[in-house]
């Protein structure tokens, strides 16, 4: 299971893969080229009233960026500590 950690900060949200090696290995095991670099995505929250629906929409895009989609078949969760 790959975990994306979501950190709420004053001006937005930061998304980061919790254990990059587990993530890389999970992709490699499925024959998917993993990234060489560690990435984290900072989403500036312009609208403080952004609802859960819009948050889940961009989180889907972040999962796509990391190739953590049903097509890649890597179990993934986003945790919001």
């Amino acid at each position: 299971m790959v975990t994306i950690r979501k950190c709420r900060e004053r001006m937005g949200l930061m998304y980061e893969i919790e254990d990059f090696e587990i993530y890389r290995r999970a992709l490699l095991e499925r024959g998917i080229e993993p990234p060489r670099n560690r990435y984290r995505v900072w989403v500036a929250q312009c609208d403080p009233d952004a609802n859960d629906q819009s948050e889940s929409a961009w989180e889907e895009q972040i999962q796509r960026f990391f190739e953590l989609t049903p097509a890649s078949d890597v179990p993934c969760r986003i945790v919001d500590p």
């Binding site: 998917i32 060489r36 560690r38 995505v41 500036a44 819009s54 961009w58």
Partner: protein, 227 residues
């Protein structure tokens, strides 16, 4: 969006809410392209969300050509790799697509094969295939005739044609004459053809001293068993 290296070597991508995966990829790719970091770009070349314009830009930078060349598309990328970078796999993929697909116009095939007529491996790959129209076959023949290895490629072409006939024919006389060629690929195709007469299948089931003999024997036995 902007990108910055941080102390723990993670790269932070700043995105507006609603940024698509393609937009994130575009931003990351451009930053890596700017410093010619092919290693970092490699995973994006096979990433399903990498947009076409980014793939074309990576190609324009002359980076990751092997990774781009292993992709099946998009078409514009293959054309760029073939015509500007002379990448062999892209040339072959396009040549075959233009030759066998009825959706591809004759003129496009003729122009493409004309541009790459000096590559023996392109002409040899085409020799194994069946053109989607007589006009494409004529265009191929024209180019082939001018090539120093034309005779060898004609032999391949004739053998492949005979193999296709052997797989599809239901004319006993044609099947007999194909059997007489003793061409291993033709025999293997006849062994799997349900229209091949029992007597010939029995002979093929005893094939020896010929390439693919075991496969031919097994196929013939299998076809006979389904009678």
């Amino acid at each position: 969006m902007s990108i910055a290296n941080v102390h723990d070597e993670a790269i932070t991508i700043s995105a507006a809410p609603g940024a698509s995966a393609a937009a994130l990829i575009r931003d990351v790719a451009r930053q890596h392209m700017a410093v010619g970091n092919a290693d970092a770009l490699r995973w994006l070349c096979s990433h399903p969300d990498t947009p076409e314009d980014v793939l074309l830009e990576i190609c324009d930078h002359g980076l990751c050509l092997d990774e781009l060349g292993h992709r099946r598309g998009p078409r514009r990328l293959l054309e760029k790799l073939a015509d500007e970078r002379h990448y062999p796999e892209a040339i072959i993929s396009l040549a075959l697509e233009l030759y066998v697909s009825a959706l591809e116009p004759e003129g496009a095939f003729a122009a493409f094969v004309g541009r790459h007529a000096d590559h023996a491996w392109v002409l040899e790959s085409l020799a194994h295939k069946e053109a989607s129209s007589p006009e494409k076959e004529a265009a191929y023949s024209l180019v082939l005739n001018a090539h120093p290895e034309a005779a060898r490629m004609r032999t391949i072409q004739d053998s492949c044609r005979a193999e296709r006939r052997a797989r599809q024919s239901n004319d006993p006389a044609e099947i007999e004459s194909l059997y007489a060629t003793r061409d291993p690929a033709v025999w293997r195709a006849l062994a799997g053809n349900p229209a091949t007469p029992n007597a010939l299948l029995a002979e093929l089931a005893k094939a020896r001293d010929i390439q693919c003999a075991r496969e031919t024997r097994n196929l013939a036995a299998d076809t006979l068993s389904r009678r």
